[in-house]
Amino acid sequence: MTKFIQTIIIGLEYGCVYSLIAMGMVLVYRTTGVLNIAHGGIGVLAGFVAWDLDTLRGWPYYPAILVGILVAVVAGLLFERFVVRRLASPALATVATLALFLLLQGLVFVVPWWGNTWGQVFNSPFANKKVSIPGADYSVSWDQLILFGSVLAFFAGLYFVLRRTRVGLAMRAVSDDPTAARLMGIRQKLVAPVVWGLAFGISGVTTMLLAPILLLDNTSLTAFTLKALTVTFVGGLISLPLTVLGAMALSMLEVSTQLYMPNVRGLSDAWPFIILIVVLVARFARGTKALEDTAVAPA
């Protein structure tokens, strides 16, 4: 029973990680057409800034993470203003995010006082507080609960904003046809920074939620980004509910195989790609028709 609860909790945890990164990518993609590969990387930067302030310089926790998130938001605004806006197409911007990803991975090492190591411990004030689950020899930490709650809130918020508010509508219009949107009076110069600042800020928040649970580090970044990419494809880069579903499914599969079938080597690592192949086969079988389906799919 404990094992089962453990599976669920850890599965949820990783599922939340993947969903947060994936949702951030889907947000940016649906509103700008750019696949933001650097999404996870920005969060790590924010995390290291916060850690720097909190652990190295003794700042209190909440201001430190706030500054970290602010750094991420500002980075988003700057990136939009000086890079994305200058580029002719979303494809180029995607390559720019790839470059940014490399840059950020290296940045953590380049800053000399960040220890030049792979990872740091960064605890939240709730470090040792837990909630035990009745009937099982396992407990959920407050950090984890906050993570779960945040993901739910974030999902609901994003869904609402994109579908129900005028801002969300404006974002989607700009993504579909920037020129027509401008003619309709939507000021792209206002919408784009909001999108990028928001997306990068969300990445910052993600890391702040994760750092107490996992290490604040760089190495898992690539793996998480790749898995989040897989998950976004489950949702076709468009559908938020499918993305979250995919994230949860992936993490559950990974964790269950790790805990229940530890002898089958490599299976838990293979799940992202098995899911990818399933998604691809589904599209493959539908051939060109699939293209039209997504073209008329509701946003």
């Binding site: 790839l98 840059l103 490599g266 293209l291």
Partner: protein
Amino acid sequence: MNRRTLLRGFGLTVLTAFVLTMPYDMKWAGSSFALDYGVIIGMVVLSVSVLGWIGEFTLAVVAQMGFGLVVVNLCQDAGLPFLVILPVVIVSSIPISVLLGVFALRLRGVYFAIATLAFGYMAQKTFFQTYLGVQGGFGGTESKAVSRPAGFTGSESFYYLLMGSLLLMALLCWGVSRSRIGTSLTALRESEAAFSVLGHSPGAYKILTICLSGAIATVAGAYFGMLQGLVPSNYFQPALAILYFGFAVAGGMGSVAGACFAGILFGALPKYFDSLSEGKLVGYDQFFIGVVALGLVLWAPGGFADIGRRVWRRLEGSPPAAPTVSTFEIDVRDATAAAAEEGLATVEAP
């Protein structure tokens, strides 16, 4: 003799001299191993860049390199001489390329790239780990050794073999791009629908290009094994392929010279960084590459090839070329956008 011819002659001479003496010129920065590594990465980047001709990009190159390694190992175990091994490696790459080509017929843009990534990953987890054993590798504990051909065992001499091979590959690619096949590929890239409706088969050209790319990557892998002497089985990380794709874009997707240049530069640079800083600057190379790539995207989206062309025109005194829309923009949006452009998606009008 006008200025242009003089300039070209001069440039060619300087380039040839540099290429011929590079291992010795760069001794101050580190051993020739770095250069050898760079040349091999140049081959890999060339194989990625070649796919720009059909407007796609592949992330399976790392797996294809691995296959090259395996084939070389098998051939050397069977005692085949080097001159026989090379053609065998090339021919063995064809079935895999054809398989990837089948994917390319139905999938576009990011979906095709993801399919190649999945393929690479599957190959690593199933094929390589079975062949090499999970802890094993080439030259590792469960050693499957791969050795360099006789006469080229030193780093410098191996460089000449590598550089010669790279130049041959580059020449072949350049020749293809200038031939009628190249014209057809340009047409295919600009409008696949028009191309096919006119009675030409896009599939054949796509598979041809993928086979070319695959052959280059597989040979690169064979050389890689010979260079390293030790390759662990978990080397074949699919994520590495994304890095090589980045290099290809930096060089100018579809440009032969740009790909070679970018590959050699970004391949050798980290190694030189390492030897120059005596191992203290970890991660600096990634940072540097990221900065360079960002700069390129902003100011020279055509990559090094674009810069090279512009600089050369300036030197030659020719008027600057009219700005053309880059036809190498790989549509990273899902294939919907591409289909809509081709008039296949009926989101609006009849």
